[in-house]
Amino acid sequence: MDLSAINPVLLIASLMVAATPIMLAAVGELVVEKAGVLNLGVEGMMIVGAIAGFATAVGTESPVLGFVVAALAGAVLSFLFVILTQYALANQVASGLALTLFGLGLSSLMGQSYVGIKPPSTPKLDMGFLSDLPVVGPILFSHDFMVYVGLFIITGTWAVLKYTRVGLILRAVGENHDAAHALGYKVVRVRVLAILFGGACSGLGGAYISLIRVPQWTEGMTAGAGWIALALVVFASWKPWRLLIGAYLYGGITVLQLNAQAAGARIPVEYLSMSPYLITILVLVFMSADRSRAPASLGRIFHASN
């Protein structure tokens, strides 16, 4: 195996691309969990976003429109979760699983005629002299627009949660929904909006895989990215900036693993492909000792009569 074939600058640049889909999905889920709701349907929303965005981009030749529709599709699917958990008061774990199973089926139904098609390519932004800088240019200033949108969403989420009234209400609802209700905040409304935001972010993440990362449509192509995003939220202890670090770490592992495959490592490909999942488990083991950071009402059902 020839490690010198791996170029560190390209490696860092491509890890940012590899990290973006799970970062988008995870930041959405972080907001949902901060509001006290556990949505295990991330995988389902991602894959529906992936095919919805793909189909739209192919149909309209516009990747931007593809991402918009993917976000909408994710939000629409998450509305099913809203109906189940917020209005029908169903178990959140079961509802999330239902969303994933349904989303996987729906996506392969929608995607039948799109197998083997190439989507319109998303141009990399050209930021003039910034993109031409050595080392810093390729790493920071020559990505597609979604990488920056992802960073913007994460920064925005951090700022809103930390500094605004909206963020404070959201956190209050997630920490103690009965107290929040007693103070007159609309618990259900806050949660519904959080879930829809989470759905939209997951949709964006899914579309990033099918439109930029891969780029093509294959059945079940998210391959557990949604679940890794859920693990990432635990890794990040529900803090956006740690989410960013976690996503890039994960992206780095994925890219290294792919590079090792390409460089002809002596380990069979299958064992290398296991590594992201095994490392996710390992990370969960290390991060789960301290559960005090989790929102206190996470996963509990709220009904005003109780």
């Binding site: 729906l106 557990g224 996710t280 969960l284």
Partner: protein, 360 residues
Amino acid sequence: MLRLERRPSPSKAWSYLTPIVAVVATMIAGGLLFYILGKNPFEAIRTIFWDPLFGEFSSYSRPQLLVKAGPLILIAIGLALGFRAGIWNIGAEGQYIVGALCGAGAALALYPLEAWFIFPLMIVAGALGGMAWGLIPGFLRVRFGTNEILVSLMLVYVAEQLQAAMALGLLRNPDGFGFPGSRNLQQYPSAFNAEIIAGTGMHWGIVAALIAVIMAYITLGKHVLGFQIRLTGEAPRAAGFAGVKTARLVLICLGLSGALAGLAGMFEVAGPAGQVSIDFNVGYGFTAIIVAFLGRLNPLGILLAGLLLALTYIGGELAQLTLGLPSAAIQVFQGMLLFFLLAVDLLTNFRIRLGKMEAV
């Protein structure tokens, strides 16, 4: 204005009715879906639910009902025990794969020896393999407080890669001209999980499923373990005071459901599937989650739900052949079933009343 009022205790009648209401609602919504796909909804529903049992090709499809229901029931019984206690093993698919690999591996290691003990050995190996795979999330939860949902699911992807590695490497048929996949166990008499009564689809896996149903029924109703499982699910704090050791319960539930999923995989790979290939698994581990909920986490309910979901698999294949219905449509259909079930379940715990909220 509609409002919800919590029932003093869950309604017995509704808890039996909700699965039926959910199935009917799914048929209506599914019919709509088939209509959108350009098929006659009535014909499609008839093809899925009626024709496999009583239609033209029913002599072929009826035995398939048991073949498909066996693994679904076996896995769902194990899952239901955990779900009842709030222990969420959703990685049954991975345990199924590892059980199949261990069972097939045990047989292939002894090939071409013919002996009576090979099949029992495979059963033990399959159960232990699945159990070991299920105990990983259990142990990590008990020792480190790790979320068993995420770990068990991650292990599905690991198991799928392991399966591919085995089909291409260790377990590959040495006489297979380099093609991926193991020797066909159907041609290895000592290891073949053949039909017990020819033409019925009845093989040892279905016997195991029936035994599991009976054992689970007795455990939940009569045994102290069943009491502890139900108590932990319904009132975790009270369970703690009653001396239930949660850690022990987590290990038992995950180990048991892993073992049952592993058994299901072993019976499948030694019988209907025949060999370890890159993709012999067809998602029973995930469909079993739907079976468990549709059966209301009750062993007898799971028996019926397993048969119904098996019917949708067979009917789906039939509809694919005769009507050209895409196979993904049936997956959507199964997903919808779980949705409707969870939504209708509201009626078990709440009354819907007309009128304004009363002052409390």
